[in-house]
């Protein structure tokens, strides 16, 4: 299928034609116009390129619909409504279309209402959160991108001087829009990651924090001295510079941290719905799996918790994970309504 796709020549002109067809068949009346439908179907069947171009158009047609209440989409809707209102008001005397203006007013009110619910602004702070099993991509005001993993809470505070974010729980990947005059920092527990234009992943795992640098450079420093983040390289209490492909892991309750090379792809596999473990303790793997699961994996047994595991798992499938672990590590899995317990079976 992929091979087919690549050999098809889809140019802009063809996409325009497909988009014109998508517009023509649009409508909400019950019965499509037979003549238009027939012509459309003939066009669709005429060449594989047409079908492929149409598929892409169909995907683009309502690509934002599922995200109508996402903060960046709300912003785009407000902008569009403002624009229509401004332009409409300028033309008010010329050609007043009251019905359209009324719809604009109603839409503005609706967008404001949605905004108030899902986009709480407190003292210039934006709070983004995801629930269990939910992932979300957010574009911040400066164009920086944040991907939020399941069960994550992120507070964003932008001022003219600085872009300050706090990851309160969970995991997120940051792709930072370059602006050296407005440092971008992410604080997670007792560490602050300072970046200018770069991509990195921050993961709060129990009491520790994992920072993985995907590209560019960042400084990780203890959060203690709350400077307004002028020069990132300012000598502070043992700031650490990371190189791309390195992961810094703090140790619970200790100023010390370890740095080791990792595959950035593995650290951000969650964005693709996968969890990749490379020789990590079972307890840690379970904690990650549990982020997405309704039924949690628990490991009451210290010996079991320390066993190391490797493998690739789908997020949201704790049952599968538990079964695989039981099989490969020779553990006993006990399923109850809200948890799966992994224990070392009694010897014998």
């Amino acid at each position: 299928m992929t091979a087919d796709r690549q050999t098809l020549e889809i140019d802009r002109e063809l996409l325009q034609t497909a988009a014109a067809w998508r517009l023509r068949i649009a409508g909400d009346d019950s019965e499509p116009d037979p003549a238009v439908s027939e012509a459309f179907n003939q066009w669709l069947a005429a060449r594989p390129e047409h079908a492929e171009a149409f598929d892409r158009t169909q995907a683009a047609w309502d690509v934002l619909d599922p995200h109508a209440a996402a903060p960046e989409v709300i912003r785009a809707r407000r902008d569009a409504l403002d624009y229509a209102k401004r332009t409409g008001e300028r033309r008010w005397g010329l050609d007043p279309d009251r019905r359209a203006m009324f719809r604009i007013a109603a839409s503005v009110a609706a967008v404001m209402a949605i905004g108030a619910v899902s986009w709480p602004m407190l003292d210039g702070k934006d709070v983004y959160r995801t629930h269990h099993g939910e992932r979300r991509q957010v574009t911040l005001a400066d164009g920086s991108q944040v991907a939020l993993d399941s069960d994550t809470r992120l507070v964003v505070r932008y001022t003219d001087q600085a872009r300050e974010l706090t990851l309160e729980r969970g995991q997120a990947r940051f792709d930072v829009a370059h602006n050296p005059f407005r440092p971008f920092s992410v604080t997670a527990r007792d560490r602050t990651v300072v970046a200018t234009g770069t991509a990195f992943n921050v993961d709060i795992m129990g009491p520790s924090v994992h920072v993985t640098l995907i590209e560019g450079s960042v400084i990780v420093k203890p959060v203690t001295q709350r400077t307004v983040l002028q020069a990132p390289a300012a000598p502070a209490a043992r700031p650490v510079a990371l190189k791309a492909g390195q992961q810094l892991a703090t140790l619970a309750g200790s100023p010390a941290a370890t740095i080791q090379p990792v595959k950035a792809d593995d650290a951000t596999a969650w964005e693709r719905g996968k969890l990749i473990f490379d020789d990590v303790p079972l307890a840690e793997a379970a904690e990650r799996v549990n982020r997405y699961a309704d039924r949690k994996v628990v490991i009451p047994d210290e010996r079991a918790a320390r066993l190391n595991v490797s493998g690739v798992f789908r997020t949201g499938d704790a049952d599968d994970f538990a079964r695989a672990m039981a099989q490969y590590l020779h553990l006993q899995a006990t399923f109850s309504d809200d948890e799966i317990s992994l224990t070392v079976p009694a010897s014998g």
């Binding site: 996409l15 517009l23 459309f40 079908a51 309502d62 229509a84 332009t87 203006m101």
Partner: protein, 185 residues
């Protein structure tokens, strides 16, 4: 009754060919309007034909029933999905007979997107917003007014002082650009 007999198989073949010639286009449009992909729309269209085989209506009444069969097909799918999800929410059950027109007012029943597609949609948001940002201001706003605020071409044209065809050109340009940048289904 027995589809295995050669005669009825040929009859079925003829009926499907007739239905196909006459209704494939309208049925495809019917499903595509409801956010299904082309492949899904093709499967659903085929399923409508199969359901039509099971009926012994007079051929003239096909026109009347075929969209009802299509709507009922969606209703059954939605109901199966709801049953899977929440077995105890009987109140969510669809009315027994829904016309195609009635389906419009039941988005929860019409939306039958798989979790995988929702996930894909999540990942495509950033890409779509980037692509949207690359469009001219007017084109971008018109796309948003039409696709998200669900305003009609005529209303947008009246507000912005443009012709309807100019508004349509903006929408086409925006959709084509989004398709080019991020429309991989």
């Amino acid at each position: 009754m027995s589809p295995a007999s050669p005669v009825s198989a040929r009859d079925h073949g003829e009926l499907v060919a007739r239905l196909d010639a006459r209704f494939r286009g309208p049925l495809m449009v019917f499903f595509l309007r409801r956010r299904f992909t082309r492949a899904e729309a093709e499967d659903l269209t085929q399923e409508v034909f199969v359901r039509m085989l099971g009926r012994d209506d007079a051929p003239e009444s096909t026109d009347v029933y075929i969209f009802q069969v299509a709507a009922n097909l969606l209703r059954d799918r939605a109901r199966r999905r709801l049953t899977r999800k929440t077995e105890d929410h009987a109140s969510l059950d669809a009315p027994t007979e829904l016309t195609a027109h009635g389906m419009e007012n039941h988005p929860a029943l019409v939306e039958d997107r798989s979790p995988e597609r929702v996930l894909l949609a999540q990942e495509s948001l950033a890409e779509a917003m980037r692509a949207l940002g690359e469009l001219g201001e007017r084109t971008r706003h018109i796309y948003v007014l039409h696709r998200l605020e669900k305003m009609r071409h005529k209303e947008i044209a009246a507000l912005l002082g443009l012709s309807v065809s100019a508004v349509e050109k903006h929408i086409i340009r925006a959709v084509a650009h989004l398709a080019e940048r991020c429309g991989k289904p």
